[in-house]
């Protein structure tokens, strides 16, 4: 009897059908909340922060997953406001800048303690900053501290130049005083690459001061002889400078940080940097425990050795499984820290995370955990799903020096030929972007920018209407292609076909990821529809791609994203700063650099924003990039988790987070959580902390006024 394979096949089909039956759940939300909703009873929260942390050394790690844990473990001079992420007092009760804006003085509270009970003093901060910038630590975030005087020189292992027993100073440099009035002319900045060193001449100075940070700025050159000579071979002035000179290595002690007394930290900057206090919220500037590090070396972060300084301390670390931190009773703010414990699960697979959330085994997720395909369904859960603008943008870079995108008309045409509103609808979690800073994140800057752009548009003779259409203007795109010298055949709807465009000479590159692919295919379709140009796509794995793009090995467009490091537009615009910029475009402009430098030397915030806006406009006009979208946060938290906000960086200062057992007080309609309503408990807590700085500023103003009145 022959084996009846049809029976076998039928059985198989039956099993498959049954499976489909099980899995075909309706896409209509049938409940108010998604999944299990019982809050933990033990005041312990469970959170997924992202992939496994690489270390607990705050000055070394660069990832977001680690950053969120470290917010709880290490205190800094200032910390994040839970909603706006602007700096609020932490270990520093109040601070002030000198008039030039290049010296900041922080006053520490006296009850700061490490997790082992040791007091936190100003010297600890000095040592922590010195360590963070040390070349031995080789921290990838070193550049965050480069505003500090000699920070870059120290980090890069440079050396001072001594000629005839005298230190060579930067031309025209003046010493810095905490309260000096004069505006200084900037000396040239040292570059990091060996082949462009500063030129200088011996300037009269107070020699006993040496190269302290209060003295006029000393010139530095590469510390390593080989690279020094290599650079000198190309640079006559440099050669003359180092001829017969003595070299004194830049050391930690030269760094512009000092502790005039136990509870005062003073930071001297290379030049005025108005965003500087905001920078200090970053974990790079956290205070660490010197004796522990000196004793254990690289093993200091091990659970058995580690000493922390934050509202929480490490309880248990099971790599790749979980990390638990518990409330530190020694912390200065322990009374106000709500959660007893937080457990972090290291995960990055979206479906797995969503499943765990639904099953109620975790209380909140981090940003971008909701898969795009689930968006329609998940956004029905209005009490849990958080989609707010993020300090992160997506854009395409152009290889501006390589044809066929070397013509600005071509680049602008390509940018205008992308329908960003359609992209918004397609991607569901983003908002269209026409500038280079994320929309809605810097409201004060954006106000100024709107005004500045209006003026500049008038000057350039561009109508506001045209400018307003930069989100999608196929007609103009076609005109620009024509201007660029290509043959343009109009098609209907204002679109066209550019028949002789060498599309095969360029590609759209991106690193392999579902969303990147989707966007690339979208843009490819747009260019085909609107310009009749079909560009090939190219993708590769992440690290390979980074290499490829940063060296501008691509021709055409490449996908890029940028997340701000601190809450100031400069963190985005600095992408294009200096010839060695990070933009992966090959674009830079001296006038642009000049504007940025001027801006950072401007104390008045509004005037500063004006200069930044000018720079942004200049860059946008030259179109080295095509802005695409502002990212949305896209994550979920259970309604009983309060004090946790979808702020622009998804950075949660944990002391404000708590679990609400009373169902009536749960968060609802979280679309309005940032604007429509407030949590009195959190507001009060923030208020209590900021009071020290606001009171200080108020009293200072009063003193100034009474001083004036007294004249």
């Amino acid at each position: 009897m022959k084996r009846n394979y049809t029976v076998e096949a039928r059985a198989g089909v039956l099993i498959v059908l049954l499976t489909f039956l099980i899995t075909s759940c309706s896409t209509q939300a049938t409940t108010q909340y998604w999944g299990q909703i019982d809050p933990p009873q033990d005041n312990k929260m469970r959170y997924i922060t992202g992939s496994e942390p690489e270390s607990l050394d705050p000055s070394y790690v660069t990832g977001q997953p680690e950053a969120r844990i470290l917010i709880g473990l290490y205190d800094r001079l200032v910390e994040y406001h839970p909603k706006t992420m602007s700096p609020i007092p932490a270990l520093a009760t109040h601070w002030e800048a000198n008039e030039k804006g290049d010296v900041y003085t922080f006053h520490l509270r006296e009850n700061g303690k490490f997790s082992n009970g040791d007091p936190i003093k100003a010297q600890d901060f000095v040592w922590s900053f010195q360590r963070a910038l040390s070349p031995e630590l080789a921290s990838r975030y070193g550049f965050l501290g480069y505003d500090i005087k000699y920070a870059e020189a120290y980090n890069a292992g440079k050396a001072f130049v001594k000629k005839d027993g005298k230190f060579v100073r930067v031309k025209g440099a003046e010493g810095t005083e905490p309260d000096q009035e004069n505006a200084t002319e900037e000396g040239d900045n040292e570059e990091q690459t060996a082949d462009s060193e500063t030129t200088a001449q011996a300037a009269p100075s107070n020699e006993e001061e040496g190269c302290t940070f209060t003295a006029p700025e000393c010139v530095t050159v590469a510390g390593d002889e080989e690279s020094r000579n290599e650079a000198a071979a190309e640079d006559e002035e440099l050669k003359a400078l180092i001829e017969g000179a003595e070299f004194v290595p830049v050391e930690a002690k030269h760094l512009g940080v000092e502790a005039p007394d136990d509870f005062t930290v003073r930071v001297t900057l290379k030049q005025s940097a108005p965003y500087f206090v905001g920078l200090l919220t970053h974990q790079f500037f956290a205070v660490v425990h010197r004796p522990t590090i000196e004793e254990h070396g690289k093993d200091w972060i091990k659970p058995e050795n580690i000493v922390t300084s934050g509202s929480y301390k490490l309880k248990e670390w099971k790599p790749y499984d979980s990390m638990t931190i518990e409330k530190d009773p020694n912390n200065w703010d322990a009374a106000n820290v709500k959660l007893d414990e937080i457990t972090f699960y290291p995960m990055d697979e979206q479906p797995t995370m969503m499943n765990i959330y639904k099953a109620g085994r975790v209380d909140a997720l981090y940003n971008h955990t909701v898969p795009a395909a689930w968006n329609e369904y998940i956004r029905q859960f209005k009490d849990e799903y958080l989609l707010h603008p993020e300090m992160s943008i997506e854009y395409y870079t152009f290889s501006v020096k390589k044809p066929p995108v070397d013509k600005v008309e071509v680049r602008r045409a390509f940018s205008l030929a992308i329908d960003r509103e359609a992209l918004e609808k397609f991607r569901k979690t983003v908002k269209k972007l026409g500038n280079f800073t994320p929309e809605g994140i810097f409201p004060d800057y954006e106000k100024v920018r709107t005004r500045v752009f209006q003026e500049l548009l008038k000057k350039e003779g561009i109508s506001e209407e045209t400018w307003g259409k930069r989100y999608f203007d196929p007609q103009r795109a076609c005109d620009l292609m024509k201007e660029a010298g290509y043959t343009v055949q109009p098609t209907d709807g204002g679109k066209c076909k550019v028949t002789d465009f060498p599309a095969d000479q360029m590609t759209i590159s991106y690193n392999t990821a579902e969303s990147n692919k989707a966007v690339a295919e979208f843009v490819q379709a747009q260019w085909r529809q609107n310009l009749g140009i079909t560009v090939q796509l190219k993708n590769m794995e992440w690290k390979t791609y980074l290499d490829y793009r940063s060296k501008v090995e691509y021709t055409g467009a490449a996908r890029a994203g940028w997340v701000g490091d601190y809450m100031d537009p400069f963190t985005f615009l600095s992408q294009f700063y200096t010839q060695q910029n990070d933009s992966s475009t090959g674009w830079w402009k001296e006038e642009f650099d000049a504007l940025l430098e001027k801006a950072n030397n401007t104390a008045d915030p509004e005037k500063r924003f004006e200069l930044l806006a000018e720079a942004e406009f200049m860059m946008l006009q030259e179109q080295p990039i095509a802005p695409l979208a502002t990212q949305g946060t896209s994550w979920m938290k259970k309604p009983y988790v309060k004090g946790m906000y979808p702020n622009p960086g998804t950075m949660h200062p944990w002391k404000f987070v708590y679990i609400e057992e009373d169902r009536n007080k749960w968060d609802a309609n979280v679309d309005g959580i940032m604007t429509d309503y407030t949590d009195p408990a959190v507001e009060a807590q923030v208020e209590a902390l900021t009071k020290t700085q606001t009171d200080f500023e108020a009293s200072r103003k009063q003193n100034e006024e009474s001083a004036k009145a007294g004249e």
């Binding site: 797995t352 499943n355 085994r361 490829y548």
Partner: protein, 305 residues
């Protein structure tokens, strides 16, 4: 037999070193490095990093140092996870994968052997068709589909089982089943085929002619020969089991070696990659040796010189 074992053991070390060398070359050739991030690093910082990790030496020195250390079983520290040595990481995470893999294979053997034997005995019965159809599905449904399906049903709909992570026995059920499925399917089909072939052979006829009970004919006489295909399958199955654990570990967020391995490659964490590669290749070679030896125990006709 002893000589055979010794010969095989001796070749393991050179083979592992060869594998490590090839991997090392591949890592060096692949673009990207462990410290790159979105922004390009200032060259000075890159210099600092290179110096710290000895990457500024010429490649042959780096290779030599690395090999020298490996021969002393020192794989160094992970480049990504500060302060953790490679040996420590492997020792900590391998048990998860081992438990997962072993349980899965045992389950697969249990189900597969049972289904295969019964199907062979009751050829063309409902059980036969049903189990072989299920086996066909088990073969064609990839584990990254099966896993989520199970999670959907048992975690998100019924709320019986936790959807991921490692904990007590409840956490193990779905990952083990997901991993075991394809092997159970293979083993069922192999066993059935093997048993059918054996049951047709002359010595089974002899056993029956001697008046033995059917169960004895099956268990004492047929099984030994019938499961040989399963034994020879175990060798390559173990290798693919390792690969299978990677997917299951990712889907279920289990802190096993497979998960770590993938992560280490994406991180370009060279010492960790090399350590895991060396470890796994030795593991596979030893496992294959054990399989070959057990072959000899099962089939007396095979004698190793």
């Amino acid at each position: 037999m002893l000589k055979f074992i010794l010969k095989r053991l001796l070749i393991i070390v050179p083979m592992a070193l060869l594998v490590v060398t090839v991997t090392w070359v591949l890592i060096r050739v692949a673009p990207g490095n462990f410290y790159s991030t979105e922004r390009s690093l200032p060259p000075a910082i890159e210099e600092n990093i290179k110096k710290k990790y000895g990457l500024d030496q010429p490649w042959y020195i780096q290779y030599g140092t690395m090999m020298g250390n490996i021969l002393r079983l020192d794989f160094g520290d992970s480049l990504k996870y500060q302060g953790q040595s490679v040996n420590e990481i492997i020792a900590r995470h391998f048990p998860y994968s081992a438990i997962l893999g072993l349980l899965a294979y045992l389950l697969a053997l249990g189900i597969g052997l049972f289904a295969g034997i019964v199907a062979a005995l009751k050829q063309n019965s409902a059980f036969d068709y049903g189990s072989m159809a299920a086996a066909m599905l088990g073969l064609s449904v990839p584990n990254f589909v099966l896993g989520p399906l199970l999670v959907l049903l048992f975690s998100l709909y019924l709320y019986w089982l936790p959807p991921a992570r490692w904990g007590g026995p409840l956490y193990l059920i779905m990952p083990v089943v997901t991993l075991a499925a394809i092997y159970a399917a293979y083993i069922a089909r192999l066993t059935r085929a093997g048993m059918l072939e054996v049951m047709r052979s002359d010595y089974i006829r002899t056993a029956r002619a001697k008046g033995l009970k059917e169960s004895k004919v099956l268990l004492k006489h047929a099984l030994r020969g019938g499961i040989i295909p399963v034994v020879s399958f175990t060798g390559p199955a173990l290798a693919s089991l390792l690969a299978g654990t990677v997917v299951v570990e990712k889907v279920f967020a289990i802190p096993g070696l497979g998960n770590i391995f993938i992560q280490s490659v994406l991180n370009r964490d060279e010492p960790l990659i090399l350590g895991i590669v060396a470890f796994l290749s030795i593991l596979i070679m030893v496992a294959n040796l054990i399989v070959d030896i057990s072959y000899g125990f099962l089939d007396p006709r095979i004698r190793y010189e």
